[in-house]
Every structure is written in structure tokens, then in C-alpha cells.
């Protein structure tokens, strides 16, 4: 019991790199954000292979942390008539993304050679 509590607390506070990417992809895909599509999009954007199971597991974890909600959506023929679970970002999810970006920008700002404005990146 005690261990579960600890991991629960830790989960609450952290947003991993992969989790962040997935969370962003959910935002990008909007109404089409379900496990298979997210995995496809991940592969298309990053050129890295990922299993649907891995994505699903992450979505599940993000849901546990309260960054995502989900509900069952429509079914299509190529899914054998089965419905899909569509994920949406919650307010706390938005906040977590925002914080993560702000945190990184503040880091970038402290980075000496870049802080001088040699590199321009639009965020």
C-alpha cells in the first residue's frame, strides 16, 4: 500500500519526455486522437517505430495523472466495427505542457551562446 502511494505521488508531478510527446500528439490529432492514430503519427513525425501497446500504456498513465480524459467514439469498418477510445487533453494537461515548455525556455535562456540570440527558434 505504502509503495503504491509513493509512486502515485511521483506520477502526479512528473511528465516524461515520451509522455510529453504523446500528450502533444493528442492535442495535434484532436478528434482523431486514439491509440492507433497516435502511434502512426508518432512514427510519421519522429521516424521512430513504436508499438500501439506502448502508446496505449502511456495514454493510460497520462489518464491516471489527470492530464487526459477519454471516451468511446465512433466505429469504422477497418476496425471490424469496433469503437475507438478518443483522448482529450484536460486543463491540468494543458497546464503541464505549458509548464514544461516554460521550464525549457527558461533553461534555454540561461544557455550562454544561445541566449545571445545566435539561434532563432519560434516556439
Amino acid at each position: 500500500m505504502f509503495y503504491n502511494l509513493v509512486t502515485y505521488i511521483m506520477k502526479e508531478t512528473k511528465l516524461g519526455d515520451f509522455e510529453e510527446t504523446i500528450l502533444l500528439l493528442v492535442g495535434i490529432l484532436d478528434k482523431e486522437a486514439y491509440a492507433f492514430k497516435i502511434a502512426e503519427e508518432f512514427e510519421a513525425q519522429t521516424d521512430r517505430a513504436v508499438s500501439i501497446g506502448a502508446v496505449h500504456s502511456t495514454l493510460n498513465r497520462l489518464g491516471d495523472k489527470g492530464f487526459l480524459t477519454s471516451e468511446m467514439g465512433a466505429s469504422t469498418a477497418e476496425r471490424g466495427g469496433r469503437r475507438k477510445r478518443i483522448y482529450t487533453i484536460t486543463a491540468s494537461g494543458q497546464r503541464a505542457l505549458q509548464e514544461s515548455r516554460d521550464f525549457k525556455i527558461s533553461l534555454w535562456d540561461q544557455f550562454p551562446s544561445l541566449a545571445g540570440g545566435n539561434l532563432n527558434f519560434n516556439i
Binding site: 502511434a39 501497446g53 506502448a54 477497418e78 469496433r82
Partner: protein, 869 residues
């Protein structure tokens, strides 16, 4: 169908697997996602890629979040597992002797089972090949009625049969002729080297059904020409010192009929699991000639490859009388037997395979099972007997709420743990004994631990563990906690009966094994000592080849001058076993049916009958004093009986060939066993020949070594280029009964093991029960019982059980042994003494076992055992 992706479904098995471990509430979305992935992969990639990817995706779903809850690892179960092992260890430590005996029994049982498994596995693989068409490969066997029975032959089918079947029967895809007979042998030489070789003629397609491991040469292309030969690695090494040098060289074959030069076009390794081995292969085209392809000439085995899906029973019904339609004189019945079964099912009844070596395979499988069963019973008996000591443990566990299921798991894990512990020891034992086992069985078995073997061994062990555990687990877990904690064991009454039943079973099996050993031993001894009607001792045979084949007069004169030589002659065929036969003879007063009577023929030299010690019953032996003896016959008793000749001497006898003169019968010999003792003695006659295939020389006992070396000198002097290789007639005889001999030795060992394990069990059980009765014994002694009274009291229970076991086992063993002996035409009777001996032996062994324990407790110190409490 395959073009439209919507019809292709994801692999069902993967789907099932997924549903098995996946949380039900996730099923819909996950299946949907995976199917979408699958159909999108099909469009861009191949179907098999998509299927593989589906599997990958399924396996990647094995993650904690997706698994059903009851499948997740429960820390309580791990703890329980540890606890169970600990409890098992404590119980092992507490009952050291029982533990040791259990372990020893199970390990011995498992080791026996392991060895038998290796042997059985090897037997089942003989002639079971994996070539392209091996699965559809049948061999035609043929049968004909003779002297009241039906005789079945594998060799010597009419030569044109294979072609006729391939042409007439649409079920046959193609036919492969094979000629294999001890008759086809000769000396092969290259340069100065020469070696004796057994050879075969093989037709096209041979290597589609038989294995061929070629070191050099392409097995599908060799022997395309009559002038080519393929030789074994061994032969290549002895002729050319290396297999490479042999290729493309000429070898010279010395043989009547097929002598000449041949080009070596291939070198092969002999196949270890083939029952037909030879040193050289020639093309069937060399064997084929117009005369040979007449129906009345035989020797070619017809191997057929049937088309896919042909029903063998229907095909057999169709070919049964086929030969009569193409060859009107024949009375042969045909039968197609799958080739891979020929080795195990080599005994035929009414022309149909019924049994054969498979009997031994079954016999030993059963023995393995029995030995294991006995070891398992020991385990069961100990665990239940021990129950009274562990009853409180069970009571306490139940009282604090341990379910029956986890108690069952506890006892099963204990027995499985025990079984696997035994396995480790068993493997060690089997490994150490393997060389001896190989020597007895005449095999080259190895611990070739393929995945099949490992699985089977683990399977056998797990099975043993479960069987041993099943009774204790169910019985002990069923105790009522209240009764258990009070220490009263009402339900043990039931257990006692079962335990007694198991002991009876164990000892019944042991008794059956003892009887079997006695009977098998006696039968083998009978075979070896029975009066065969001829004397096989101190006789050597060797090939009559080269110059000596035509004219051996000089050799005979000189060999008889060697001091140790008693007599010398020549003959065709092998004694016992391979003796030629023919039919179509005529004599005075014969009936129409008698035309089909087959006679076995020994053609040989003068003095042969005398040399072999065969007794004349009437008339006289062949003699050089009568030139007409060249055309005379000497019959055996069976032949005399079959021909119903009243006064045979001087009667005319001969074959139907109109050109042949009828000849005279000059003598009758007593019957002798020229074939295996499993066969009745068939009609036979002797005929003179000076062209026989081998020399037969009788040597004075005790002078073998120097006499044989002098014969060798003489032989090689007169017959250059032919190596002298001799065999003792006695060895041939031994070889014929090698399998019975092996069975006899093996069954002795396994029966010994079974008895030992049973007695171990009995030992521990008596020890246990006497220990529990220490107080009773002490009180009895106080009240004046003598030592003998107490021994009797303690022994009688077990003695009764063993007695009951013997009573049950004797009729069963009588029945089993009667069946086994039925395979032999000449066999021992079942002497009641065998059963008495087995019974008494078992009784004595059991009694001694019990005695070691009871005698000890009779000497118990009264005050010591009564003082406690």
C-alpha cells in the same frame, strides 16, 4: 481471395492470446486499433508482414496496465511458494530415511524410464525417414499358401511387379525397384587394395524415399549410367584412403554375373537409422535384362510412392489379387505396407502385418510405466503414512483460514519438487549407465537433447510428480480441522485401505516381472541349448569365390590335410535362416494341390550332412562311389510326410521342367531346425552341387586359432585377391536370437529395479508403522509377549498383503507369458515351478525386508519407550 485485403483476417491465435490476458474492458478498443493497424499494413506491405506485425503488437500489449488482475503477480503467492518449499524442506529433514528412500526410488524409477525412453525413441525412428516422398512410401509384400499356412515374404517379389503396378494402378505416382539380398556381394578392388562389399541395385527416385548422405556426388544424378557405382565412406577409405580420391576412379568388382569395372560417381555416409545398409550401390538398369524381367524371376522389392490422399485400405483391397491378373500361374497375394512401419511390424498373419518388434517397444514402455508407478506408490504411501505426523500442521493452517486449494497446491508443489530433485539424480544415473545400456541393447544411444527430448523428459517428470502428489494432496487437504487438531484421524481409515491396495499393486507387478524374467530366461536358454538336429559348434564358413568358385578340388584335398580340420564341404545359403526354396515338384501319387508345395533346398558338397551332424533316418548319404548321386535327393522328415511317400528310397522325384529327368530319392534325414525356432520345420531336401557359394569347414575343438590361420594361408595362396573372412556358424545362430537375448538381459535388470523399489517402499512402511506402535509393543512385552510373538504380530499385516499380491499376480503372469511364448513354434511349457519359484522368492524377499524392521522393534527397551509421556 488473397488479393482482396478486406477478406484477410488477423491471426486468430494471436487474437485469442490477446483476449486471454487482456482486461475485458480494454478488449474492444485494443482489438479495433490492432485490426486497423493490420489492414493498413496489408495495403503497404505483404500479408505475412502484417501477420507478423500483429503478433508483435499483441506481445507488446503484455504490460501491467493491460493485464487482467488475477494474472498479475500476487506477492502473497510468491510468499506462499517460499513457505511451501520451506515446509517441504523441514519435512524432508524430519523424516530423513523416508526422504532418502523416496528420492532413491523416484530417481531409479526415472532413470529407468529415461533409458527406456531413449531406446523406444530410437526404435520408433528406424526406417522413419524424412525424405521428400517418404510419407507416401509403401513396400509391396507378398504371401502365398504353403503347407497349410500362409507364408509372407518381403524379398524376392517377381521382378516385373513394380513396373506393372506403376502402369496399371492410377494411385501409384512412381515405383522404385530395389534389389537387396545377402546374395549380392563381391570383392571390390582398386589398385592393390580390395575389400568385400555387400551391394544393392537401386532404381530412379530411390533418394526421394530413402536417406542418402552424400559426401561427394549429387544423389539425384548418380547412377544415371549402368557403369557407375556409389560407394560408402568406409569402402572409399579402405580402397582409396580418402573419399575425395575415390571420385571418378575405376573400381573392379569380382562377382558372378556383375563383375567388371565401374566408375565411382558418389561417396555416401551410411545412415544410422536405416535397417538396410550396404557398401555399394549400383543402378537397377545393371540388374535388368530381358530374362530377369520374366514373371518367374524374383528378387526385386517393389517400393511405391502413392499419390497424395490415396486411401491405403482401398488400395490394398484393389491390389490383393492383382498378380493373378497379370501372371496366371501365380497364387500370390499382395499387400502394401508403409515402409516406415516395416521395421516394427515385421510379423505377418494371413499376409497382413500384425506385430513384430513393436511388441518389445510396448513391453518396455509398459515396464517403464510400471517401474515409475511403483516409485510413485512409494511416495504416496509415505506421504499419507506421514500424515498423522503432519496432521496438526494441517489443522492449524485450516483453522487460520487456509483454503483447501492452497493445501492441494502445497502438496503438489512438494511432490513436484521431489520429482525434479529426483530427475537431477536420475539424469546422472542414466548418464553413467548409458554405455552399459548401449552394450546390452546393441545401439548407439546418446543423450541427444533435442527440444523434443527435453520436453518429453520434463513431461515424464512432471507427470510423475503429479501422480505421486495427487493422492496425498486430495486426502490430506480434506481433513476436518477440528478432528485434525484433536489429533484423531478418522479419515485415515480410508487411507489405510488404499495404502494397502497400492502395496498389493506394487508387489503384484513385481511378481509378474519375476515370472516374466524366469520364463524369458528359460525360453532363451531353450533356444540356445535345444537340439537343433545339427551340430553348429566349431564350424566356420567363408566365401567360395574367384578361381575356387569353379574348381575347388585342390583346396579340398589340401584343407583336409591340415591337422585340425575334421572335415570340409560346401553349401549354399545360411544356416539357420537363409535357405533357398522352390516349388513345382512332382512325385508318384501326388495330388493337384501338391503342385504348390514349396521345398527348401540345400545344395552342397559331399560330406555336408555328416559334417553338420545331421542324422540319417533311412537310406544313405551322397557318395562319391555312385556317379548317379549327382542327380539324387535326400529329403527331410517333413518333406516325407508332405509327399506321403510310403517307401521313399528309390522313388522318383523331380521338377516339372519337361527337359529335366526325374531323379531318385536316396535317403531321408531327421528333421533339423534350418530356420529360426519361431518357424515350424518346413519341407526340405539336399542336392549335390560343386558350385556352392561358400565353404564349410569343421575344426577340431581347441585348435581353432592355428587351424584357421593355416586355412587362411592356403585360401589366400590359391585364391589371390580375395581376402579370407570367416564366420562361426554358432555366431550366425546367436545373431538370429540377438533380440531375445537382449530382452532377456534387459528384463532381468528392470525386474530387479522394480523389486528393489517395491522393497524399499515396504521397508520404509514397516519402519514407520512399527515406530508408531512402540508403546503398544512395550506394553505387550510388559505383559509377557515374547520377541517372536511381536515379530509375528508386526509382520503379519504386510505378509498378508504380499501374499495377496502373489495370488493376484500369478494368473495374470500366466496369461501374459502364454501369449509371449505363442510367438515361438518351438517353446518351453509353462512349468508350475516357475510360478512357485517367483512366489516364494517374492515372499522371502518381502519377509526379509519386513524382518529387518520388526526384529529391531521387538528388542525395544520397555522402560525407554514407556517413560516418555
Amino acid at each position: 481471395m488473397k488479393k482482396n485485403p478486406s477478406h484477410i483476417t488477423p491471426p486468430r491465435l494471436a487474437e485469442k492470446l490477446l483476449l486471454w490476458f487482456l482486461k475485458d474492458e480494454l478488449a474492444e478498443e485494443v482489438l479495433g486499433d490492432l485490426e486497423e493497424k493490420f489492414s493498413s499494413t496489408i495495403i503497404t506491405k505483404s500479408v505475412s508482414r502484417a501477420k507478423r506485425n500483429y503478433w508483435y503488437q499483441v506481445l507488446k500489449y503484455i504490460r501491467p496496465f493491460a493485464l487482467k488482475h488475477n494474472r498479475s503477480i500476487n506477492s502473497n503467492q510468491t510468499a506462499m511458494f517460499k513457505h511451501n518449499i520451506l515446509i517441504s524442506f523441514r519435512s524432508f529433514k524430519r523424516f530423513k530415511t523416508t526422504f532418502g528412500i523416496n528420492l532413491l526410488g523416484l530417481a531409479t524409477g526415472l532413470a529407468s524410464a529415461l533409458l527406456i525412453y531413449l531406446w523406444v525413441n530410437d526404435e520408433l525412428n528406424v526406417d522413419n525417414f524424412n525424405e521428400k516422398d517418404s510419407q507416401r512410401h509403401v513396400q509391396i509384400i507378398y504371401s502365398y499358401p504353403t503347407s497349410g499356412t500362409i507364408q509372407t515374404e518381403l524379398n524376392g517379389a517377381p521382378n516385373p511387379l513394380f513396373e506393372a503396378l506403376a502402369e496399371e494402378m492410377p494411385e501409384v505416382e512412381y515405383a522404385v525397384p530395389v534389389v537387396i539380398d545377402p546374395y549380392y556381394k563381391g570383392v571390390l578392388s582398386a589398385g592393390d587394395n580390395s575389400a568385400r562389399a555387400q551391394f544393392q541395385f537401386i532404381g530412379n527416385g530411390y533418394f526421394n524415399i530413402f536417406p542418402g548422405d552424400f559426401i561427394h556426388g549429387n544423389k539425384h544424378k548418380i547412377l544415371s549410367d549402368k557403369g557407375e557405382v556409389a560407394i560408402s565412406e568406409k569402402l572409399a577409405l579402405s580402397l582409396f584412403q580418402s573419399t575425395e580420391k575415390a571420385m571418378g576412379q575405376l573400381v573392379e568388382l569380382k562377382n558372378e554375373g556383375y563383375g567388371g569395372s565401374y566408375l565411382v560417381s558418389g561417396v555416401f555416409k551410411s545412415s544410422p537409422n536405416s535397417s538396410t545398409a550396404s557398401d555399394a550401390l549400383f543402378s537397377y538398369e545393371l540388374f535388368r535384362n530381358p530374362e530377369m524381367m520374366k514373371w518367374y524371376n524374383g528378387g526385386t522389392q517393389a517400393h511405391l510412392v502413392l499419390k497424395e490422399g490415396v486411401d491405403l485400405d482401398q488400395f490394398n483391397a484393389k491390389i490383393k489379387d492383382f498378380l493373378k491378373t497379370v501372371w496366371k500361374n501365380s497364387n500370390f497375394i499382395l499387400y502394401a505396407q508403409p515402409y516406415s512401419e516395416g521395421y516394427l511390424y515385421g510379423n505377418y498373419e494371413q499376409g497382413i502385418p500384425v506385430a513384430g518388434r513393436i511388441i518389445y517397444v510396448r513391453l518396455f514402455s509398459i515396464i517403464a510405466l510400471f517401474v515409475l508407478a511403483i516409485a510413485c506408490i512409494n511416495y504416496m504411501n509415505f506421504s499419507t503414512a506421514k500424515a498423522s505426523r503432519r496432521i496438526k500442521e494441517i489443522g492449524v493452517k485450516k483453522a487460520i483460514g487456509v483454503g483447501r486449494k492452497s493445501l492441494i497446491i502445497q502438496y503438489f508443489s512438494e511432490s513436484l519438487f521431489m520429482a525434479f530433485l529426483s530427475l537431477i539424480i536420475a539424469i546422472g544415473i542414466a548418464f553413467l549407465l548409458l554405455p552399459q545400456f548401449n552394450e546390452i541393447t546393441g545401439k548407439q544411444l546418446t543423450f541427444n537433447l533435442g527440444s523434443d527430448a527435453i520436453l518429453s523428459i520434463l513431461g515424464i517428470t512432471a507427470f510423475t510428480g503429479l501422480i505421486s502428489g495427487i493422492y496425498p494432496a486430495l486426502l490430506l487437504s480434506g481433513f476436518n480441522p477440528v478432528v485434525a487438531l484433536k489429533g484423531k484421524l478418522k479419515s485415515e481409515i480410508k487411507g489405510v485401505w488404499l495404502r494397502k491396495g497400492l502395496v498389493v499393486f506394487q508387489f503384484a507387478i513385481s511378481v509378474i516381472l519375476i515370472v516374466s524374467v524366469i520364463v524369458i530366461y528359460k525360453q532363451v536358454e531353450f533356444i540356445q541349448t535345444t537340439n537343433l538336429g545339427y551340430n553348429k559348434d566349431h564350424i566356420i564358413t567363408f566365401a567360395k569365390e574367384g578361381k575356387l568358385q569353379k574348381d575347388a578340388q585342390a583346396f579340398f584335398t589340401e584343407v583336409k590335410n591340415i591337422p585340425g580340420v575334421v572335415n570340409a564341404s560346401q553349401m549354399n545359403g545360411e544356416l539357420p535362416g537363409r535357405i533357398g526354396f522352390s516349388q513345382g515338384f512332382k512325385w508318384e501319387g501326388m495330388s493337384e494341390e501338391d503342385k504348390n508345395l514349396r521345398f527348401h533346398i540345400i545344395s552342397g558338397g559331399y560330406d555336408l550332412i555328416d559334417l553338420l551332424g545331421i542324422r540319417l533316418k533311412e537310406g544313405r548319404d551322397f557318395s562319391r562311389d555312385f556317379p548317379t548321386d549327382k542327380d539324387a535327393y535326400i529329403l527331410n522328415e517333413t518333406a516325407l510326410k508332405m509327399t506321403k511317400l510310403e517307401n521313399p528310397i528309390g522313388q522318383k522325384f523331380g521338377n516339372f521342367n519337361p527337359n529335366a529327368r526325374t531323379k531318385e530319392i536316396i535317403g531321408v534325414v531327421e528333421n533339423f531346425h534350418f530356420q529360426s525356432l519361431q518357424e515350424e520345420i518346413r519341407p526340405l531336401f539336399f542336392r549335390l552341387s560343386d558350385q556352392a557359394e561358400k565353404f564349410v569347414v569343421k575344426i577340431q575343438a581347441g585348435t581353432e586359432r592355428e587351424t584357421i590361420s593355416r586355412i587362411e594361408e592356403l585360401y589366400e595362396g590359391l585364391n589371390e585377391g580375395y581376402p579370407f573372412e570367416y564366420k562361426f556358424l554358432d555366431d550366425d545362430y546367436q545373431a538370429l536370437y540377438a533380440s531375445e537375448e537382449r530382452i532377456s538381459v534387459l528384463s532381468k535388470y528392470f525386474a530387479g529395479i522394480a523389486i528393489a523399489i517395491s522393497c524399499l517402499g515396504l521397508l520404509a512402511l514397516t519402519a514407520f508403522s512399527t515406530q508408531r506402535r512402540f508403546k503398544e509393543i512395550a506394553i505387550r512385552k510388559v505383559l509377557g509377549s515374547s520377541g517372536t510373538d511381536i515379530v509375528r504380530l508386526l509382520s503379519q499385516d504386510f505378509i498378508r498383503l504380499v501374499f495377496l499380491a502373489i495370488l493376484i499376480a500369478l494368473p495374470v503372469s500366466y496369461y501374459l507369458m502364454k501369449n509371449w511364448l505363442n510367438d515361438f513354434a518351438f517353446r518351453i511349457g509353462l512349468d508350475p515351478m516357475y510360478f512357485v519359484i517367483a512366489g516364494v522368492l517374492m515372499m522371502v524377499v518381502a519377509w526379509l525386508t519386513i524382518m529387518t524392521q520388526t526384529a529391531k522393534s521387538a528388542k525395544v527397551n520397555v522402560t525407554e519407550s514407556l517413560r516418555s509421556e
